[in-house]
Symmetry: C2
Subunit: 349 residues, 2 copies
Amino acid sequence: MPSRPRRKATSTLNEFDLIRVLQRRYRSDGPGVLRGIGDDAAVIASDRRRSHLFTTDLLSEGIHFDLATATFADVGFRGATANLSDIAAMGGTPEYILVCLAMPQSASKVQIEQMYRGLMTACRPHGVRLIGGDISASAAGWFLNITLVGSAPARDVLLRSGSKPGDDLYVTGTLGDSRAGLQLLQDSPRRSRPSVSSRHRRLLVARHLRPTARIREGCWLARGRWATSAIDISDGLSGDLRHLCEASQVGVDLDLSMLPISPACRDYALGLKQDAAMLALAGGEDYELLFTVPARQSARFEQATRAHRIRVTRIGRMLPRGRGLHIIMPSGRRQPLPCISYEHFRYQR
Amino acid sequence: MPSRPRRKATSTLNEFDLIRVLQRRYRSDGPGVLRGIGDDAAVIASDRRRSHLFTTDLLSEGIHFDLATATFADVGFRGATANLSDIAAMGGTPEYILVCLAMPQSASKVQIEQMYRGLMTACRPHGVRLIGGDISASAAGWFLNITLVGSAPARDVLLRSGSKPGDDLYVTGTLGDSRAGLQLLQDSPRRSRPSVSSRHRRLLVARHLRPTARIREGCWLARGRWATSAIDISDGLSGDLRHLCEASQVGVDLDLSMLPISPACRDYALGLKQDAAMLALAGGEDYELLFTVPARQSARFEQATRAHRIRVTRIGRMLPRGRGLHIIMPSGRRQPLPCISYEHFRYQR
């Protein structure tokens, strides 16, 4: 999701846990629907060999993106990446995109074209084709809805629910960069800037505005049948790890000292006297893949990642459900996994 | 689309004809994509026998629906019907729905549940299953995005582009009811009401708030290979007939005296001293199917519709493109087809 000011929805609605209500009432797993509500994307059986994947997002100005810190092209790029990342988390190949845009009276042709340019810049490297959508007016503000259609070999689809106690927990790339980039963008120029080099600043802001969907990594994990479960990190490691554990009905020990932090993020955190690991934990919008691999395969798996130049880091170990969800502090102290990521009423991821 | 106050987008954007720009720039017909932007739904080859259909709509409060005249359940029902109708116009069977909702801070759990109830009430008779989406906050107002996935036998998909000069033009059901129903809803109770009976009023309002998608009719037309082209009437007969003629590169003579008008609509128009045919022409949101049948098959076709209890009316004749688009007045006078339907920036229908 594009740079969101992280406004929460009303507390009343949080209490009711709407997603679970809808999931219970309109649950649609069954013939044809291999996975409905409750994963990164829906999985529909196409034939014996191939499954279709569907994911959709509605992004609102002032909630999911801020046109003061992102261009229209950035918003389009990030919106497309968020959905590409959902397909990556299922081990799928993205194929088609449908885009709906609702815009205020003040909208210009150039702004709309920039939004589409950003969307298609993110999609083109993956061969994703625009096949439909609509453009209409909104009473106030910009709204962007993206639906992405992909596919995957039926037997290789990655789900959140396949992890077993004893699996190792891995993540691709580095964590926290996007959040650091957002904070840099939101800093008023008048405020004293953190002591981050201009090169690192550029890197962090780029990681926020133009993130990478891990399509290649997701496909490789699925085809090689390495991963027992996977999810993409859109809401933050803390929240998405929780989703993975709930779906797989397992516990976890997450080792904070193992989290992959880029030099730029470390530099930024140092300047603010913040803990980079906490930034990584709460971050969100990293669009890295979080996944599990059976421990007995870990050595062979890590060797294969090096051969294929895929950057992964082992960051924890899955446990029986009863052991709960914990982080291991650098001091060795074990404490409950905090709830510090952005919660929204998404019922698909 | 749900009861829309029919506010137009800015004139600046009308001039640029955005849809054509995007269609040209991101045109995606080609391998796998049998029909991209430019029909009621996108058509993707699944295998030799079956095609997938995709359609999506973003509906904005104050633009596409008005919560003063429609309940949340009505908005959901109408939103689903608009998309079901797109699938009907392609001769397809609707299968899966994805729903994104963005809602204001004031939203309640009951309102959200009602919206979903309306959506699923429209979907359930067709066996359509909810497979994903999300629920998030909006800075102001309600926004509903629906993506509908369907399928059709590959060789039977109905397109807008297949009509030939000499074909007869047909429409299902009756026209103008929805518009009359909307006008009745928008009438202030203080204003003197048109002399329409309460039974007719109920019928017209129901046709507006709870329209019927012509799924059965579309499937039957496609399977029997009766129709050479088809479109659903969402923007109004005048506008949608224009779209069909453009896609098929044909002209038309539309016979106003033949338009199927319900007794309720005729009653309503009489009370207002309006011409019911003009109401039918400008209407919109009727969700009837407009389609063409080769003239040499018309007699056999009409006989078959009676046997299958499918209500259709012949309302015109397709002509070579150079003959232009005309209406034949009841007096016999021939005049250019007026542009009186709602124009929005939809690039899929």
